[in-house]
Amino acid sequence: MESSVPPTERARFAVAGARANVAAALGSQPRADVTRNNLFAGLLFVSILIALAGLVALLAQAFIDGAPALSTKLITEPPSTIDTANAGFRPALIGSVVMIAFVIGMIVPLGVGAAIYLEEYADSTRWWNRVIELNIQNLAAVPSIIYGILGLGLIVRGPLDLGFILFAGAMTLALLVLPIVIIAAREAIRAVPPSIREGSLALGATQWQTIRRQVLPAAIPGVATGVILAVSRALGETAPLLLVGATVFVTADPMPFDGNYSALPVQIFQYATRPQADFQTLAAAGIILMLVVLIAMNSVAIWLRNRYEQKW
């Protein structure tokens, strides 16, 4: 887009001018055209309304179904099969939180590192760098359950043989969302103007010093947004965790490197598959809990993005 004026303004001028001319030459615009236009616009707006209705229905149904179970017990109480009135999501919530902490610890250095390499150091005409780029693009779209198979085959069993522990789940999730961080970090680094780099290099800094002191700080907001998007995705992922062992009934708070664990979306899924009505209510309440956490995180992401949008 070449002009800085919003397109609709210009288009309106153009349309008005053209219409005036045509009308003057040929008479007023046929009624059929006007109604067809409005009908079309209306139809398009309806599709937005349908999407919106779907979202609203989903949220409303979760709230209505889960309302009876909403209380602080959800956060403080462990799951229960015999005392569903007092059941909660405590171990699953703690499991998810601890896993997310590990995931962040892994994806930030690895993701930013890979992005820096691809943007600052790698010669994109070399075949091996193109292979890396291609791999990242493919991995971003591999189904999440395949990552579960990877975790089951190579992390939990196989060469790494960590067993069905929380850290194995965290590793699986980290691999799943790493491409998101890499892609976002690359965009953020790319957005830093070359003049910043050139100035720094001209003053005698090495490449790494330039990156560390000039490029990275400028790219941090974009990277943070990417990390939060990745974490939101990781928090809601169920399928890979099913395969690496988060399916256990635990009442105690999970330990990261030892013993069994659970996670919020998996606990919700387990409640959802049990036929008794009490469990359905708990599942809906769990969904509300998870949505609250996610909306909070995404709001932070949007706020960060708006706050730190740098204009060069």
Partner: protein
């Protein structure tokens, strides 16, 4: 601007701290609940296996942990076979099983790894065959069931089944559990003679027994099967068939299962504790608790309690394994 970055870092470390603190809290949870049991018991008990028996172990775990808050019991649902895999290499302390350990495939693995165990009954269950309340048929033999559920079954309506005790000609609609469930395994074994052998012409409800309830109650010619307690919960919308296992028609009930007359669809549910695990006092206390309180546990989990005989036998087995 830098302060926001620190805010994010603080948030993350705060989350980490919360996680660690929450983990830590659990350990030094002093038992000042007065207690009628000798607390001071602590440790981890790892249970895995059948998803049918899991609710029993979960109920037992919850009740046990009320009195012994420092003992952490976790219950996995890798299935009876998956549970034995882990059990026989020493990864779990107790294996939940809805069938007996396989002599050919699983026992050798346990022997190889030196895992000593006992088969301890913890509950009874009755697979109940349910039909629509409008269905006049009251009793079916195992052969008749096999003609409907067998792998080569070609009956499409109730009228095609031979020798029924009532006239009925509605179209058959079958509802059954998923093929990886212990219920499926047991039913196919008992009715068709071999596990996993069944007609493919049925509605697979997975683990959602509710779907069987709504399916059967909504279709006049519907038929399905699941555990007895689930039938009891839905007795007002469904009818249970009496089963003739060779000695006359028997309706499923607590008594007919306990005295063994409800065959072949009555079964026992087991746990397999390992001798090594029983050396730990918290495991022994847990298993003893499991057996002693089996009435409360089976009721909470929705199964049929054991008879006095079964209870005594189970306790004896545990005692001998612990000492022997």
């Amino acid at each position: 601007m830098i302060s926001k970055k620190w805010l994010l870092a603080l948030g993350v470390s705060g989350l980490l701290a919360f996680g660690v603190a929450a983990c830590g809290d659990d350990d030094d949870d002093s038992s000042d609940n007065g207690g009628d049991t000798p607390t001071g018991l602590s440790g981890n008990i790892a249970i895995d296996g059948s998803s049918t028996v899991a609710p029993l172990s979960e109920a037992a775990a919850e009740l046990f942990q009320e009195e012994n808050p420092d003992v952490q019991v976790s219950v996995g649902t890798s299935g009876t076979g998956g549970g034995f895999e882990k059990f026989c290499v020493g990864e779990t302390d107790i294996s939940d099983a809805s069938r007996q350990i396989d002599q050919k495939e699983e026992v050798p693995v346990c022997e190889e790894n030196g895992v000593d165990y006992e088969e301890v009954t913890v509950a009874n269950d009755a697979l109940t065959v349910v039909v629509n309340p409008e269905n006049p048929v009251t009793c079916m033999t195992v052969e008749q069931l096999a003609s409907v559920w067998g792998p080569d079954a070609d009956v499409s309506s109730w009228g095609d089944i031979e020798g029924l005790d009532a006239e009925f000609s509605e179209e058959l609609q079958l509802f059954g559990p998923g093929t990886d469930s212990g219920t499926f395994d047991y039913f196919t074994d008992a009715v068709n003679g071999e596990e996993g052998v069944q007609t493919k012409n049925y509605n697979n409800v997975g683990e959602d027994d509710n779907a069987t309830v709504s399916g059967v109650s909504g279709a006049p010619g519907g038929m399905g099967y699941f555990g007895f307690s689930f039938f009891e919960e839905n007795a007002d919308t469904l009818k249970a068939l009496e089963i003739d296992g060779g000695d006359g028609c028997v309706a499923p009930s607590v008594e007919s299962v306990q005295d063994g007359s409800y065959t072949p669809l009555g079964r026992g549910l087991f746990i397999y504790p390992s001798a090594e695990a029983l050396q730990r006092e918290e495991v022994q206390a847990f298993v003893t608790f499991y057996i002693e309180n089996q009435e409360a546990i089976t009721e909470a989990a929705g199964f049929i309690p054991m008879t006095e005989e079964q209870t005594t036998e189970s306790q004896e087995k545990v005692d001998s394994l612990a000492t022997g």
